[in-house]
């Protein structure tokens, strides 16, 4: 099973083999976790996203036709859910419907003690969180996940042209944000 490629596992799963889903989760859980974590900068929220991604993947996998590779599709689901968490947060902040949701709490709220961060790290996370969505996604997928521009284009459903520029502007803004903050301290 471990040697099967992703699409073989997907096919097995579609034929009713439940174990192949487990294998796909084990194979990608760490990647999915880190992509999520880069977006929300918080372990608990990243964990929520990981759960949501695999629950969604379980049902959506029946519709998956393998047009793109499995992991580009999986990462796309992850990026979409992570961006949705951030967007929902913005909409919630705006319309304040938090009181209707027991689980509602701020992304970027107090980190738990095990994941304590220093000032510099907070600054960098702040800089990344202020990037426009596309630059943020390109930066995370290129800098942290080390994906190729072709893979990033597939994940973000966009063309390759312009991604390098997105990456450059993202890195430049992060640098400017951090050095501006250092000057004002």
């Amino acid at each position: 099973m471990t040697d099967s490629n992703d699409l073989e596992l997907v096919e097995l799963f579609q034929k009713g083999n439940e174990t192949s889903f487990n294998e796909l989760v084990r194979r990608y859980q760490e990647k999915v976790y880190w992509i999520a974590r880069r977006f929300v900068n918080d372990h608990d929220h990243a964990d929520d996203i990981v759960q949501e991604v695999f629950v969604k993947v379980y049902s959506a996998l029946k519709l998956f036709r393998g047009e793109s590779g499995f992991y580009t599709w999986l990462y796309r689901v992850t990026v979409n859910i992570a961006l949705n968490v951030l967007r929902k947060q913005r909409i919630r902040d705006f319309i304040r419907i938090d009181e209707f949701f027991e689980t509602a709490d701020d992304v970027n709220d107090q980190p738990d003690a095990i994941f304590e961060k220093d000032e510099q790290q907070k600054l960098i996370e702040e800089a990344i969180s202020k990037l426009p969505e596309k630059q943020k996604a390109v930066f995370i997928l290129r800098y942290h996940e080390e994906l190729s521009y072709e893979e990033i284009a597939l994940i973000l459903k966009t063309s390759v042209g312009g991604l390098k520029a997105n990456y450059f502007h993202a890195a430049k803004k992060i640098g400017e944000y951090v050095s501006r903050a250092h000057r004002t301290y």
């Binding site: 049902s59 689901v77 979409n80 949701f101």
Partner: protein, 211 residues
Amino acid sequence: MHTEHIKYDLMDYITNRLSEQERIRVEQHLRKCSDCNNQYIELLATDIALKKNHDKVPTSIYYSTILPRVRERLGSHQQSIWHYGYGAAKIVLPIAVSVFLAVFLIRMPKESLSEAEQTEKLHQAVKDLNEDEVVQAVEREYAGLSLSPNQEVAAVGVAEHLQSGRFLKSAISKQIENEEVADMDIEAMISDLDGEQVDQVLSGLSERNIL
């Protein structure tokens, strides 16, 4: 080679992700261009700052809990639609409708349709929809899959279903895999938007005094 192109390669140069040929091209350019050199120094500092970041890594025990919890959620989603109670859904659904309509309106081609005409078009579009199409569209949209033109129309139908309460009923009968029906509605609606469009939706909502 134009400076723009070199500039855009600098991060990949710093992080060692260029081919030999590209690397040489960047180095040759850096020797003669002070502008790119300044960019290079700035980005180098950024890369160093980023690398100094030591992310606290979860233990392997954490990873071993993921699958059991996913399995648990997969086994228990049937009752989850009532998680927040019908009362909360009733309050939140009108907000969901508003968000949906705002999203729908900014997605429409701008060509000279008045708001009344747009609303009329929306009503037309959803008249003959069946619930299966609607449910499928929401599921696909939610899963980040692209929608066929038919499903786009079906997605529009969600607003109608929301308003009439039909959607809530069909969601229950179809047992869509979600925990927070109202929350998911908003999520499905905004999943294709970029940050700028979210801004538009928010300002659209406040202009209409919906909130």
